[in-house]
Symmetry: C3
Subunit: 265 residues, 3 copies
Amino acid sequence: MRKINVIEDIKEIRRRRPLIHHIMNFVVMTDAANATLAIGASPIMAHAIEELEDLVLVADGIYINIGTLDNIWVNSMIKLALLAEKYNKPLLLDPVGAGATKLRTEVSKKILETGAVKILKGNAGEMLSLAGLGEKVKGVDSLAETGYEAVSILAEKYNVVAVATGKIDYVSDGDEIAAVEGGSELFKYTTGTGCMLGSVMASFMAVNKDHMNAAIEGSAVFKKAGEIAEKRSGDNPGTFRIELINALYNIDKYNLTDLRIRFLK
Amino acid sequence: MRKINVIEDIKEIRRRRPLIHHIMNFVVMTDAANATLAIGASPIMAHAIEELEDLVLVADGIYINIGTLDNIWVNSMIKLALLAEKYNKPLLLDPVGAGATKLRTEVSKKILETGAVKILKGNAGEMLSLAGLGEKVKGVDSLAETGYEAVSILAEKYNVVAVATGKIDYVSDGDEIAAVEGGSELFKYTTGTGCMLGSVMASFMAVNKDHMNAAIEGSAVFKKAGEIAEKRSGDNPGTFRIELINALYNIDKYNLTDLRIRFLK
Amino acid sequence: MRKINVIEDIKEIRRRRPLIHHIMNFVVMTDAANATLAIGASPIMAHAIEELEDLVLVADGIYINIGTLDNIWVNSMIKLALLAEKYNKPLLLDPVGAGATKLRTEVSKKILETGAVKILKGNAGEMLSLAGLGEKVKGVDSLAETGYEAVSILAEKYNVVAVATGKIDYVSDGDEIAAVEGGSELFKYTTGTGCMLGSVMASFMAVNKDHMNAAIEGSAVFKKAGEIAEKRSGDNPGTFRIELINALYNIDKYNLTDLRIRFLK
């Protein structure tokens, strides 16, 4: 039986303060940086191709999010993935909008084909698209009912831990599948919560070499933070966005023994 | 007499959840995405020229804001306007800083000349500049006393609904002119409130083909949200920014029968 | 003895509402714009090389922050510095990440070599790197113990007012050295507080030609705002970020006679 120790890994993040190198979309850069700081890690956002190697060398984890890409940024994403592979730094990819445009699907696949990606995390629609399950994806905020089918296929195809987010997050390494429940309806009314989850998950990935565990922990902690934030903000998404950062920062003060993680396989 | 039904159109936005494709400035991307979500629509921010057509095909409304432009982004803006025209998708243009630099004035005119723009919304200074009324514009936060003169000229010249924002927003389709009052002094102390208004207005535009009505509704709802937010935040612009999102999200719970819309012509 | 009149200069900012032209990093654009508005100045963010001259002509202060640079942006930064020099507009440079990558160190030096920089403000690690003191810089959020040594060297070398931020901010014009204490531990858990300080300091620089005073005032006011914000937000960095803007906006309502400014030399 897989043993997950969320509290230990939160302590480890706060002890080591791992540097997470982001290529992040423009929309969520501020909130992703603040989420990274709140969980206890240290963010840097940089995309200039000339400095990527300097930064990969000191990074503890790398997170590529394709949310607002163009040619210049795509070149940097590919280069960053190759450097992650070269220097054996764990990489999390968020294929925002894969399936919604050909460009995004292709760029996601190119990054996956470098072999550097350790965790591939998208919403159910994006993951179903990448898995070739032909789900139609409407925009980047769509939430398909289930990403259950997609994660096994993608985990095996690309040798990654695959995470499909939604009401339930499904996490698979190709052998096992975990389902993580919780979170808040207000995630849908706050831009970039999925992207912020990526920052949190990359922070766990940077301190836990068992990437299946890291992905499950990131997902469970973020859903828990969402529940706490919802309670503190009522039906107010503006306030929720602030309380989500507060909750991540203070997450160790809450009961973390009731995280809703189930293994389906 | 023009019949405006704000409540019905808010319901319609929330029922249809229209996809609003933004080319937005870097400063306000997060807040504009959150404002779009709060009113009930679905935002996407994308500028890569290669994916614009894929996105226009599924978009219900398009919003170009030139707030932080450069060559690469200008090419995408022009291309996006041409695609909006080709596929008959309604386009709202916010000519941020027109009059402040030659580049911004020229880019605004180029986008207008595509014929795709249905709503042209700027602050009074920007609109006076585009109308050739030689107002000097100081930065992007300037608020001239009145954009009354500008809107008729621009509506007729470019066959658009023209909106000049300020203490009073003036809206004209060339025939009628509406004045919308309300809002908050804190709009001036919160970056990008004009840009966020653009997102809200584009959401109304996406569900109401009478673009004069959509513009008036967006303006009136945003001013109302500003009043609510001010009451809830005291003289605190940081809090105001959060409460503005809360107010947009909960706008249907407030009395919307007292919106201050007058027809001047 | 140097006479510092913070209250007078805050009034002056609010009376003149100086236009601060930013080339700012993507991560902090929103918060920096809001900090500029909160202290009473008027921000513009623009990087297109074609419009820089138009904007420099009307700007009262210029702020270059290299936090998320690439080739296109670097060209604009150099051009903007040359224009600042040409039109004698005061320039504040924040060399984010200098020392962390060769690119950032080189770009910082190139901008310094234009002779346009009046205030050079970085965290202690960045300043030690630029001063050739070989401090290893870990990411952009690192805080070395002291920047005391760096500021005199840099002030003399580049004929600037040099500011090394940290628990204590050190400010030097080459002759004197001031130490400014205060602030909040939550600065470290909120992305871009150093960058926001830059916006506030540039606002003082725009109204006070004694740039040593302007730098000290910006530093002291920002630290005071941090203390106020911390009191109002508890141990909550999400709330802190909002309260920091509230505090800057309302700073004149607080006691500003207890700012902790000491002259060491």
